[in-house]
């Protein structure tokens, strides 16, 4: 082997070592969550800790399922994330299509408003939005959890960017064939946009499932909390039952990890549309 080739090999090994150790650092906490969740509670308070659990148990999960609100939180999360995702896909597709392909007075203005509201951090609108929701008497209802998330400037932006790439000839051809406006939208535009709609749907669902701050402030009974806000409540109630808490965390994390594995190609391709202007 020449000197240069050896140098390249060494560099490659060093690179792999760096990447692998950084990756392990990010992965170990997740591993630790699962391992703690399947340990008997008493073993979590032992030093040194067991890195590989010697007698795994499902006990913590059994305890978890006995919690009076766990199922309710799960259902709340599913209802909220499911509704928001479905409605958002539909609304964003409509709005994106209108802005990208239909000429109407103020289209540019509306688009600018969307872009501008995309730039406003969530925290800034938090208090006014809360007051609005409470004035409508919606505190502690599904409406409060769902409605504010339906306005999704990012989704509209994403759809508009995608729909710009659809050739207008297709739409004209549909019209010449006698398709109505709605028919064109449902039979032509929606099928073409499927990949973009999938991306939007997956990201929305994960985002809503993982959302914490908004559910925390608009719910004031344990029953109405979503899974994330419920977990926070558990953490406050039993801060010392580590195994139990990690079982809760594992339970809430697994659906998203499954979604990630199933749709990893969407995640890892990245929403590049968003970054190019």
């Amino acid at each position: 082997m020449t000197k240069a080739a050896t140098g390249r090999l060494v560099r490659k090994i060093v690179a792999l070592l760096i990447v692998t150790s950084l990756g392990l650092l990010a992965f170990i906490p997740l591993y630790w969550m699962v391992v703690t969740a399947i340990k008997p509670p008493a073993l979590t308070l032992r030093f040194p800790p067991e890195i590989f659990p010697s007698n795994p148990t499902m006990r913590n999960f059994n305890d978890l399922f006995k919690h009076p609100y766990l199922m309710r939180w799960t259902i709340n999360s599913l209802v909220v994330a499911g509704t928001v995702t479905t409605v958002q896909i539909f609304l964003c597709a409509l709005a994106g299509y209108a802005i990208a392909k239909r000429q109407f007075p103020g289209a540019r203005f509306f688009f600018m408003v969307y872009i501008a509201s995309m730039m406003i951090p969530k925290q800034v609108t938090l208090v006014p939005l809360y007051i609005l929701v409470s004035r409508f008497g919606m505190i502690n209802t599904y409406a409060a959890l769902i409605l504010p998330s339906l306005a999704a400037p990012f989704g509209v932006f994403l759809m508009r960017q995608f729909m710009l790439t659809i050739p207008s000839e297709i739409i004209e051809a549909a019209r010449i064939d006698g398709a109505s406006e709605l028919k064109t939208f449902f039979k032509v535009i929606i099928p073409i946009s499927k990949p973009a709609l999938a991306v939007l749907g997956i990201f929305t669902f994960v985002g809503e499932w993982n959302d914490f701050l908004w559910p925390l402030i608009v719910t004031n009974t344990a029953r109405m909390r979503t899974l994330q806000a419920g977990l926070a409540l558990l953490q406050e109630e039993v801060p010392l039952q580590h195994a139990f808490l990690m079982a809760g965390a594992t339970y809430a994390a697994i659906p998203m990890i499954v979604v990630f594995i199933l749709f990893s190609k969407y995640f890892l391709k990245g929403i590049t549309v968003g970054s190019i202007k």
Partner: protein
């Protein structure tokens, strides 16, 4: 915005002009929170961006499946909610039975009370964020890097440029728009950090980890002073806009699209 000029709480809604603003700028806690938020943001953003850039460059020459594998590993914490990540790390940071102190003790050092100490609480939170973050930025940067024509790198190599030179003279300048985008977005996101504070430290010890977002939450939803909280979020918004403009000025000057 409108609200921030009011004495707005459960009992009264009264116009008080700029009093809320005058109050928060004289409030030591708000100033401390502002300082903490800056420390957190400027601690996290460079490290996290540096990490993402490093990994992107290192995995770029790898074969596709391996590249995807690494991207997947780094992305995994991103689909896990911040609540869950915070709960895990609260356990990892546990002073007596936590994984981190176990590692530290096995290396022969004294255990540290990570979150219970004013000196270490904030650095601990920053460390956690840097370790867990970066996944989506790596994906973004990799996509941008894949669009750089291969012959740029080849030409540089033929000219005899070393890896560092290729990185600093070709990769970084060409990735600049993406880096800028990630930096602005990362600054905005980290400036608003809330879940980790709420779950892990409640702003303590001695307010050493109280960030603006947490203070806004407490002011609005524990003390129900919604007017004051609005004023705080307006200040935060102003700062974020200013930071965004600064970053664009600083990095955007010689960006070629």
């Amino acid at each position: 915005m409108y609200l921030s000029f009011f004495d707005y709480n459960v009992f009264s809604q009264r116009f008080i002009g700029f009093d809320n603003y005058r109050y928060i700028f004289s409030d030591w806690l708000f100033r401390k929170a502002l300082g903490n938020t800056f420390i957190y943001t400027f601690g996290v953003v460079p490290l996290w961006l540096g990490k993402a850039l490093l990994i992107t460059v290192l995995i770029y020459p790898l074969r596709k499946p391996l590249q995807t594998f690494y991207k997947g590993i780094f992305y995994l914490p991103h689909v896990t909610s911040s609540v869950i990540i915070s709960m895990i790390w609260l356990w990892v940071f546990n002073p007596s039975f936590g994984l981190l102190n176990y590692a530290i003790r096995s290396l022969g050092f004294d255990p540290v009370v990570w979150l219970g100490n004013t000196a270490t609480a904030m650095p601990s939170l920053i460390m956690m964020q840097v370790i867990m973050g970066g996944g989506s930025t790596i994906v973004l940067l990799s996509a941008a890097m894949a669009s750089i024509p291969e012959y740029y790198f080849e030409a540089a190599r033929i000219e005899g440029a070393g890896p560092w030179k290729v990185f600093s003279k070709i990769t970084v300048p060409l990735l600049k728009p993406t880096i800028l985008y990630a930096m602005v977005m990362g600054t905005i996101a980290n400036f608003q950090t809330f879940s980790n504070i709420y779950i892990m430290t409640q702003g303590g010890p001695q307010f050493s980890t109280t960030t603006i977002a947490y203070l806004v939450y407490n002011t609005a939803f524990r003390y129900y002073d919604l007017g004051l909280a609005s004023a705080m979020s307006m200040v935060m918004f102003g700062i974020l806009v200013a930071l965004g403009v600064l970053q664009f000025k600083w990095l955007g000057a010689n960006v070629e699209y």
